[in-house]
């Protein structure tokens, strides 16, 4: 039953989405994410991969740029930013909570802006 509702909603959303702007199945999205090291890289990418619809994720240590390819039909870029912030890393869009930041390993405690 739950599934049926879900399908109905998805179908409905699908139609309405098409009515508005067509959602990109392969959106290339880049955002700045704060972090330091190899360990941060693994955590950031893991968080990104945890978001439904994220197909690739790569965080560059030196430039701090997180580049993903995202299926917008499954998640929004806001969902991505939230998920990364939840892992403790500030993004340009969403700031991590103090508690999530404090949970980071000592080597990952980047300087916050």
């Amino acid at each position: 039953m739950k599934n049926l509702i879900l399908i109905a909603i998805v179908t409905f959303l699908g139609f309405s989405a098409q009515a508005q702007t067509k959602k990109n199945k392969n959106l290339k999205y880049t955002t700045e994410v704060n972090g330091n090291c190899e360990q941060c890289k693994k955590r950031i990418e893991k968080a990104a991969f945890g978001v439904p619809g994220v197909k690739t994720a790569n965080w560059d240590i030196s430039s701090h740029q997180l580049t993903v390819i995202l299926n917008e039909e499954k998640s929004s870029t806001a969902d991505l930013n939230k998920a990364v912030a939840k892992a403790g890393h500030d993004t340009k869009e969403v700031r991590a909570t103090q508690q999530d930041y404090d949970n980071l390993h000592s080597c990952c405690k980047y300087e916050r802006e």
Partner: protein, 668 residues
């Protein structure tokens, strides 16, 4: 631009999952290390970069493994100077040897094929121990060797290499490169080598290495369009190789086919055309499709004394590959189809073994990578072959990093192949042995297909020792033959027998490795290898002949700091080989016998390179500077048409010490 590079990389990488990380490695390590073992690649793969290749004296792919612990270099016989390679104690027919992921050394080219790729053409070599990927085929049993040639779009406009040595061998390599447009580039590689003088250092009346001439030409085109995601390679290649060996006084014009003098000629002509086309989907750099086609014609005409051996192979190979992801790039897959067609015209003396082989197969390979410390490649293929039948080939590789700078790997897989018994054992024609095939019910020369399982695991750890970089590791592998085309040299010195394995045949190997940066820019590489390779022959169970049970490799490299583009490089390699089981000769008269086991011996090579600028460098070195020689190289050398003649038993260098010098000139 960055995106373009990314797209391009992704395509190249996607051609095979295995070459994927390899190519990346080359990029990363080119300036740092000459031999690189990655800690994040799933399979047990070592990459030999072009820097490492420069350490080898000379000059072709067969000779470029002397400093590599994964591969053992042996001599195939006492006449042709051919070097034979082994991995996990098994000879090259049990390896999958590919050039840019297209099978290259197979069938008719098995004996000399590696010497038909000049060293200067090579960009890098990836060596995978164990089962390997299913993408290129089902034939690999103990390992895979893939060679990447220089890419026209990255090549320099002009390169020249000249080489000469005291065994009268001369080589000339010239490369030309032209960018035809921003999307097209072409390279033309010309290679010639020759040995002009007769050498007989051990005074047995036979040449220690053959007189020879080789012309080798490759013209390749590369297309790359970042906007459309289209990539293509087109290669044309022609090779002509002539060798003459045998008694010093042999004159091919008057003595061929007679018993005046014993002599041999091996003439090979080869023509290759190959194309690759790839497309990376727009906005989906993880998804691509590739289509490879290769045609080659390989013709060898040869005689060994009164034995005549001619083989011509026309081959067509086609491979369609699709790469994509399941949800995200942590789950990748490769799927595709292969088609292989081989037409053989083979004549052993008067017997005609001509035949046509063809196979069609489909493969699927799944790769999981948690982007952290674990990855897995699970592959399978189904093939239908007119002689091997319908069969399934499963392969598995796993990698786990339990802690920092440590890696554990595991692999298992099955391989199946038809043994080209004459082409693979043609050194035996240089003997008075009679060839007998004892079975006649199989489809390949009366024999059944060879089937083997290979299992292995390895561990490597990097650490600091006295604040210098160190690395230690081991690997163990086992190959279990379910069936084998046994080549029996243990029955009689006048016979070689071929038959289906009855009983057991296995190859166990253990390798211990320790590498250390002794002082800045001085690197030590050491490896100890243990092999236990047993086969049940008619006479009983023996170690595989001409295989040392213990081997040791040491390599020291030193280079000075680059100063104004000037540099010195020094390289020293020590190879020790323990005693080897020799073919049975005890029934011969005493003068024409070998002992049961060969003595152990060591071979040392040195090389010095002086880089004068980024344009010009010279190098000089010595091979086998300890001057070790196999005491008796040819049995029955005084009566080469008699019953005891045998030039196929080479366990050590025949020639002794050899010195060489060469130069490299580049226009960038």
């Amino acid at each position: 631009m960055q995106k373009n590079i990314l797209l391009f990389m992704v395509f190249l990488l996607s051609v095979s999952v295995f070459s994927q990380e390899d190519l990346e490695e080359v990029k990363v390590t080119k300036k740092q290390k000459s031999l690189k073992k990655s800690y994040t690649v799933t399979a047990n793969t070592t990459v030999i970069t072009s820097k490492e290749l420069l350490k080898a004296a000379c000059c072709n792919l067969a000779e470029s493994f002397e400093t590599n612990p994964s591969i053992d270099v042996n001599f195939s016989d006492a006449l042709t100077g051919t070097k034979q390679i082994k991995m996990l104690g098994l000879t090259s027919p049990y390896l999958m040897i590919t050039e840019e992921n297209i099978p290259s050394v197979r069938g008719a080219s098995q004996a000399y094929g590696l010497s038909f790729t000049p060293g200067t053409w090579i960009e890098s070599v990836q060596i995978t121990k164990g089962a390997g990927s299913v993408i290129n085929g089902y034939e690999s049993i103990s390992g895979q060797i893939n060679t990447e040639l220089l890419k026209p779009l990255n090549d320099i406009p002009f390169f020249l290499n000249a080489y000469g040595s005291t065994d009268a061998r001369f080589e000339l390599n010239t490369h030309f490169n032209k960018k035809l447009s921003d999307k097209w580039a072409t390279s033309l590689f010309l290679h010639g080598n020759t040995r002009v003088a007769k050498n007989d250092m051990n005074d047995d009346g036979f040449l220690d290495n053959p007189l020879g001439k080789q012309i080798n030409i490759l013209n390749r085109y590369q297309y790359y369009n970042p906007e459309s995601g289209l990539v293509s390679f087109i290669n044309f290649r022609y090779m002509n190789d002539k060798k003459q060996t045998g008694e010093v006084d042999f004159d091919k014009d008057t003595d061929r086919g007679t018993t005046n003098q014993w002599g041999s000629e091996i003439n090979t002509e080869r023509f290759d055309v190959s194309t690759k086309i790839g497309y990376v989907f727009k906005d989906m750099p993880y998804q691509s499709i590739g289509f490879q086609n290769a045609f080659n014609s390989h013709k060898q005409e040869s005689y060994f004394g009164l034995n005549q051996y001619d083989i011509k192979q026309n081959s067509f190979y086609s491979n369609l590959i699709f790469n994509s992801i399941i949800n995200n790039t942590m789950h990748k897959f490769t799927a595709g189809l292969n088609f292989t067609y081989d037409q053989y015209q083979e004549f052993v003396n008067a017997t005609d073994y001509s035949r046509i082989d063809n196979s069609v197969g489909a493969f699927f390979e799944y790769t999981y990578d948690n982007t952290d410390n674990f990855s897995l490649i699970l592959g399978g293929r189904v093939d239908n072959h007119n002689r091997l039948g319908f069969f399934i080939t499963p392969r598995l590789h796993m990698r786990y990093n339990p802690w920092k700078d440590g890696v554990i790997r595991f692999s298992a897989g099955r391989g199946k192949r038809s043994a080209n018994i004459f082409a693979e054992n043609q050194q035996l024609f240089a003997s008075s042995r009679t060839f007998s095939i004892l079975d006649n019910s199989g489809k390949i020369y009366g024999l059944n297909p060879e089937i083997a399982w290979n299992y292995g695991m390895s561990f490597s750890q990097k650490f600091k020792l006295f604040s210098k970089n160190a690395e230690a590791g081991f690997d163990i592998y086992r190959t279990d033959f379910q069936n084998q085309a046994v080549v029996d040299l243990m029955e009689s010195p006048q016979e070689v027998l071929f038959y289906n394995l009855k009983g057991n045949s296995f190859a166990n190997s253990l390798q211990l490795e320790f590498n250390y940066e002794l002082i800045h820019n001085l690197n030590l590489r050491t490896a100890y290898k243990y092999y236990d390779i047993q086969t049940d022959y008619l006479r009983g169970t023996f170690q595989r002949p001409l295989q040392a049970k213990h081997r040791f490799l040491g390599n020291l490299e030193f280079e000075t700091q680059l100063n104004d583009d000037k540099q010195w490089k020094f390289d020293y390699t020590f190879n020790w080989s323990g005693k080897q089981q020799l073919p049975y000769t005890a029934s011969n008269p005493e003068a024409d016998r070998f002992p049961e086991f060969s003595p152990s011996y060591a071979v040392m090579n040195i090389q010095v390179t002086r880089v004068f600028s980024s344009v010009f460098e010279v190098y000089a070195g010595g091979e086998n500077i300890g001057n070790y020689k196999q005491e008796k190289a040819i049995l029955g050398a005084d009566d080469p048409f008699g019953a005891n003649f045998d030039a196929s038993i080479a366990y050590a260098p025949i020639f002794g010490q050899m010195y060489y010098a060469g130069l490299r000139f580049k226009i960038k």
